[in-house]
């Protein structure tokens, strides 16, 4: 076998570096850049999103690093307003209060004025404090035309048991400013009255996280996190409606702006397990249980298996399953005379199940570059013919399925 001078030089360099315990390439690489584009598309002309993202990590040496991330999120399409379908034509006032839109008989009322561009910027600074302690400080800013969010977080990580056990303690504080088009509506008043306040609303969210990551053996580890979250302030979706229907016919006679409690406490426990097999295949499984004081309990299972193929290629099938119970104040509709303190018909607060099935295919080109393509299908189903439906409501689908396609391309490089 003949070797070119270049190859010999490369091999000598690699051999020298391995003796010194360093990588020639890694020594020169100061930036680690991950880029991706996500395309999310719901069927039946509902929401479509296009989302490019770039994340760059600067290696400052001695395990200290600084990460900058920029996300642009462009949404178009229609979103279910919460109003019930009818056998007759329905006319709804646009959220701005100017003009209206028509919904054909037996069609799910969708608000077509859903168009938004969100810009999000975040920074993260990771720094070792000593041999067994690290701290992480983060900052996020995100803005869209009717919503601004600012948050800051701090995480402390402490290693014990020869660094086989890592304890994490984190705090995140988020402040959101909500500036709905046309002003924040008065909850549970008729859309026809357009009873809206001027100015903006806000909410504060405080999250606490306690976690432990444990190495099991040379090729497997697990993580358990306990999260507590307290949100206070404006939790209502200013664009969602709840229909009031006639006692006998089930025809909508009015549509009210929805109203939610002004606080929410959530607790969740999250576990993740990861194992690499001798053939370099990797199995990852996670489970999350969440419960809150709105009456919502949820379970999320997520599994993926990465098959290592030759030449750096891999394929990774994935299956995710989710279920939730409905919020105490979730109502498909209200009857005349009912005066609950909170009510929402937002499908995201209803009882439902969702599955995601797909795969990721990619290639680790070398130490410096990698790409991957992810393709997934998401389907959400709920009870479209609840027992409380009567009159014309009994013929309607009160919880239409949501089906979405997720396509994502990633490219990472170092320099």
């Amino acid at each position: 076998m003949q070797l070119s001078n270049k190859k010999i030089a490369g091999m000598l360099s690699a051999a020298t570096c391995s003796l010194l315990g360093t990588s020639a390439q890694a020594e020169d690489d100061n930036w680690d850049v991950d880029t991706a584009v996500l395309y999310y598309d719901e069927s039946d002309g509902r929401v479509s999103a296009f989302e490019p993202v770039i994340s760059a990590t600067r290696d400052l040496g001695d395990d200290e690093s600084l990460t900058f991330k920029l996300v642009l999120d462009s949404l178009t399409g229609s979103s279910a307003s919460g109003a019930v379908p009818s056998t007759q034509v329905q006319v709804f006032t646009r959220p701005s209060g100017d003009g209206s839109y028509r919904v054909e008989p037996n069609e799910t009322p969708l608000d077509p004025s859903f168009k938004d561009t969100r810009l999000s910027f975040s920074m993260n600074w990771e720094k070792p404090v000593d041999r067994n302690n690290r701290r992480n400080l983060g900052f996020n800013f995100s803005h869209e035309y009717d919503f601004t969010s600012v948050s800051a977080n701090a995480m402390w990580q402490h290693d014990t048991n020869q660094r086989n056990t890592t304890w994490s303690y984190g705090l995140n504080i988020e402040v959101d400013d909500i500036d709905p088009v046309g002003g924040p509506p008065e909850a549970l008043t008729s859309m026809a009255d357009q009873n809206k306040a001027s100015g903006t609303e806000d909410r504060t969210i405080v999250d606490l996280l306690f976690g432990v990551t444990q190495v099991i053996d040379r090729s497997s580890l697990f993580q358990v996190n306990l999260s507590l979250s307290e949100a206070d302030g404006y939790m209502t979706d200013p664009y969602k409606l709840v229909s009031v229907v006639d006692n006998t016919t089930g025809q909508p006679i009015d549509h009210l702006f929805e109203g939610r409690p002004d606080s929410r406490s959530r607790q969740s426990i999250y576990g993740k397990y990861k194992k690499m097999f001798a053939n370099k295949n990797i199995f990852t499984a996670s489970y999350r249980y969440m419960t809150d004081d709105w009456g919502i309990d949820s379970d999320t299972f997520d599994f993926n298996y990465r098959f290592a193929l030759s030449n750096g290629y891999y394929i990774q099938p994935r299956f995710r399953w989710y279920q939730q119970t409905e919020a105490d104040f979730y109502n498909y509709f209200l009857l005349p005379g009912e005066t609950p303190s909170d009510a929402s018909a937002d499908y995201r607060l209803g009882e439902m199940e969702a599955t995601t099935i797909g795969f990721k295919f990619g290639k680790d080109i070398d130490e410096q570059q990698a790409w991957s393509l992810r393709l997934e299908l998401y389907e959400q189903t709920g009870e479209g013919s609840p027992s409380e439906a009567f009159g014309q409501l009994a013929q309607q689908d009160l919880y239409p399925d949501v089906e979405a396609t997720i396509v994502q391309f990633n490219y990472s490089f170092r320099f």
Binding site: D34, A36, L38, E51, V53, S55, V71, D73, S120, S122, N140, F141, S142, E144, D146, F147, S151, N153, Q162, N164, T165, G170, N172, E174, D176, V212, T213, Q214, V215, D217, R218, S219, L221, Q223, N225, L226, S229, D237, Q267, S268, I269, K274, M276, I282, S286, M290, T291, D292, D297, S298, T300, Q324, R348, M352, A354, Y378, A404, I406, Q408, N410
Partner: protein, 73 residues
């Protein structure tokens, strides 16, 4: 705190206490040090998922802080 959360916490503590003898020596970390074995490997995928499911479902978070909330829920 509800019953299911209690049971999950209790079983986690039991498993964790039984795991205190687990682990590897510093020179046995070749596989664990791989990028694809990090708990937050594929960070951008995790962030996209968090954003999608936050806007379609009533639960979010768990693994860490998602950051940069949106008005979509």
């Amino acid at each position: 705190m509800n019953l299911k959360l209690h049971w999950l916490l209790l079983s986690t503590l039991l498993i964790a206490s039984g795991c205190s003898s687990l682990g590897v020596k510093p020179w046995e970390r070749e596989i664990l040090a791989r990028e694809d074995m990090l708990m937050d490997a594929d960070a951008l995928d995790l962030a996209f998922d968090e954003h999608i499911y936050f806007s379609k479902e009533a639960s979010s978070g768990g693994q860490g802080f998602s950051g940069g909330g949106c008005g979509c829920n």
